[in-house]
Symmetry: C2
């Protein structure tokens, strides 16, 4: 039952809210360990400090530098715990430097009221078996891509063949390849696991994230996640990337936005 | 030349990155001091610590409780300063409690490259003189509304007359009433100054923000700001609100997203 996702975000608790972690080379991508699995790792540690507020509702991460596979330390501090929500801060240190700083507000998604009034619809995509598996991509794929069963919408995969659509959007079905079903911690990885959306505008290369904020709005149902990522603003060497994640029941379970550096390549 | 906006965000520097501030009752709204002017106040203090990185590029704020007019303290700490960006944390304390926790990444918007490739267009609205001034709103308006020359798009102001459009969107032209031209600090107030977008879905009442992240992408040109706020997800007693701010030249100068509590009223 040792799913590779859970192994990747595992920690050894220490004193004073500190956790030792080991960043796994299997989640490497481009210039460092994927920002999504790092976010899940930090959120896992924060959640351990907040047993009565099990779910991340909103997590804001500022990335100060690339993290590499190997030992690292997560330091957490609960800033305030109230009746229904709690806010905490956390940092990831590696090689004596702060690599990521996080603020997070936690609660209990199971205790929210049942109202769902979502003005937008799940993005239209062909069924997974009509989509393009990531392992059919030409060339060598980074280790991160092997962690997922990932099926690209054919309409947004032209960039892999040198023919970007120019719309700045990438859509895909995603689930973990090891069979682990999605939960809020998995969603924090999913929102930063697709290739940078600017690939669909013709850019290629490493696109380091400066900041990413994710909202987790419901515990996802088992099965495929429907993921849409797009940009509305590429300017001044930076781009904004939005991501929506829908579960297999058609519920909008996560939304994220990041500010990243436009690749120079 | 003492613009009321600058008076509202003014501070008295103390030791160790601390600043004494006085929250102004003129920016009160519903259950407390407006989250936008608080964000500008915190960002102003952080910027004072980072003379070589004058502009907030991305600011993430978690709101722990309402702030009231009167004395408060802002504590800042620079986490890391690099060649082109720096990241800092800040908190606002009042009455012995942490009210807001912020992470922010700063840089120099004047040194970014001139590329602008923004896939979206400025939202269409009638000219300001064809829009509805906020001071024509029925009933008593909160103090915050007096700080702006604010003109609502007639298509998105039906909620003020009990006829919400049901689209979950509010559009308006905005500028400071005292004549101060916009800059990055003003943009941080603008992204949280409109009424909650859920008013356009028929909700009324106080909608406290849990978290707001704003990207500032360019120093705005003088003149009117074109502001669009909308929601894509109202569920479980929480709603997401996005905001875009365009300057008078048609440049997308700021984007924000917040997670807030849906009014019970």
């Amino acid at each position: 039952m040792a799913h590779e996702f859970d192994a990747a975000i595992a920690h050894t608790p220490g004193p004073d809210g500190r956790y030792d972690v080991r960043l796994d080379e299997g989640w490497h991508i481009g210039g460092g360990v994927n920002g999504g699995i790092l976010l899940s790792t930090l959120a896992h540690a924060i959640g351990t400090q907040l047993p009565a507020k099990p779910d991340p509702l909103v997590v804001s991460a500022h990335y100060l530098g690339a993290s590499v596979p190997g030992e690292a330390t997560v330091s957490t501090r609960v800033i305030r715990e109230g009746g229904t929500v709690a806010t905490a801060e956390a940092t990831l240190h590696q090689d004596g430097r702060e690599k990521i700083a996080v603020l997070a507000t936690y609660g209990d998604l199971g205790r929210l009221d049942g109202e769902v009034r979502t003005p937008v619809e799940p993005v239209a995509m062909p069924d997974p078996d009509q989509c393009i598996p990531a392992d059919m991509a030409p060339g060598r794929t980074p280790p991160l891509m092997d962690r997922f069963d990932l099926r690209f919408d054919p309409a947004t995969i032209g960039w892999a063949l040198g023919e970007p659509s120019g719309e700045g959007e990438i859509r895909a079905w995603m689930r973990l390849k090891d069979g682990r079903e999605p939960d809020p911690l998995v969603l924090l990885t999913i929102v930063d696991a697709l290739p940078p959306v600017v690939f669909d505008l013709g850019y290629r290369g490493w696109a380091p994230t400066l900041e990413l904020t994710a909202h987790v709005r419901a515990r996802p149902a088992p099965g495929w996640l429907r993921v849409r990522a797009w940009t509305t603003n590429v300017a001044g060497g930076l781009f904004e990337e939005d991501c929506e994640v829908w579960d297999s029941t058609g519920r909008l379970v996560a939304q994220s936005r990041q500010l990243a550096m436009t690749p120079r390549g």
